[in-house]
């Protein structure tokens, strides 16, 4: 059990951490490292900002009403 992660290990786990894919214990280890490491904290902040930006600006539009209607008519 690695209680103290180094920067390399934190960077390797960063996307898993930000995507909510780490176990609670592993996520806690990443948080503990970041609390003491300004560089990893900033890096995490940057990647999180990028992912928020991507979702907010890249996501496609919902199904237009006329397409929904056409699909429903063909199915039901």
């Amino acid at each position: 059990m690695s209680e103290h992660l180094d920067c390399r290990q934190v960077v390797d786990r960063l996307y898993d951490f930000l995507d909510g894919e780490l176990t609670a214990t592993d996520a806690e280890e990443v948080r503990a490292h970041m609390a003491a490491c300004a560089h990893c904290f900033e890096r995490s902040d940057f990647e999180a900002a990028f992912l928020r930006f991507l979702e907010a600006r890249g996501k496609g539009k919902d199904c237009p009403p006329e397409v929904r209607r056409r699909i429903l008519d063909s199915l039901l």
């Binding site: 996307y15 902040d45 991507l54 600006r57 890249g58 496609g60 539009k61 199904c63």
Partner: protein, 186 residues
């Protein structure tokens, strides 16, 4: 508990995912009229195969698998497979390293216009693009993406990682070219 009328269970379990299907189709095809057709074709195929779906399991993953297979069959061969060179170039070189002195919070991203974001996503090689769409735009967990793409979770992670790095690099370069941020000294 089987509904006598498949339309009832299809409407209850499949149709709530129609917007997700359409958004994914739009980013896969990069074209609204193709997205219309792809969504409709996939929904029709799903309805015809609805008896093979196990009620109560993950309908979203099941539907997106059908959509993605339909996309591969109909559209992919006419689309870019992406340049292998760019992918090699970004290894080991992060945008954060370039901006940590000037803009560590990544504020420059907010100045980038939506069309450029869309173009950057659509220019990704297909295998990275589908991972980015499902994770970063639709918020699906790794395991569900792995199920849809038919690859191990580790492969999803490495495709996501590379896809994100390619996107970051392109959008950063755009921001430098537009003067939103000063480029790092080589």
């Amino acid at each position: 508990m089987t509904d006598p009328d498949p339309r009832v269970s299809f409407e209850r379990e499949a149709l709530p995912h129609l917007d997700t299907m359409y958004r994914v189709a739009l980013r896969l095809t990069g074209d609204p009229s193709r997205a219309d057709d792809l969504t409709q074709d996939a929904m029709l195929k799903a309805f015809r195969g609805w008896h093979t779906f196990t009620s109560g399991t993950n309908a979203r993953a099941w539907l997106l698998t059908i959509l993605r297979n339909q996309f591969i069959n109909d559209y992919r061969r006419t689309k870019n497979q992406g340049p292998a060179v760019d992918i090699m170039e970004i290894e080991g070189h992060t945008v954060f390293a370039d901006v940590q002195e000037t803009d560590p919070a990544g504020r420059f991203f907010d100045q980038i216009v939506d069309d450029e974001v869309t173009a950057a996503i659509e220019a990704l090689p297909d295998e990275f693009r589908e991972a980015v769409i499902l994770s970063d735009l639709e918020g699906l967990p790794y395991a569900e993406i792995a199920e849809i793409l038919g690859v191990p979770v580790g492969t999803v992670k490495s495709r996501l990682h590379r896809g994100r790095q390619i996107l970051q690099r392109r959008l950063y370069q755009y921001a430098v070219d537009m003067g939103y941020i000063r480029g790092a000294q080589p």
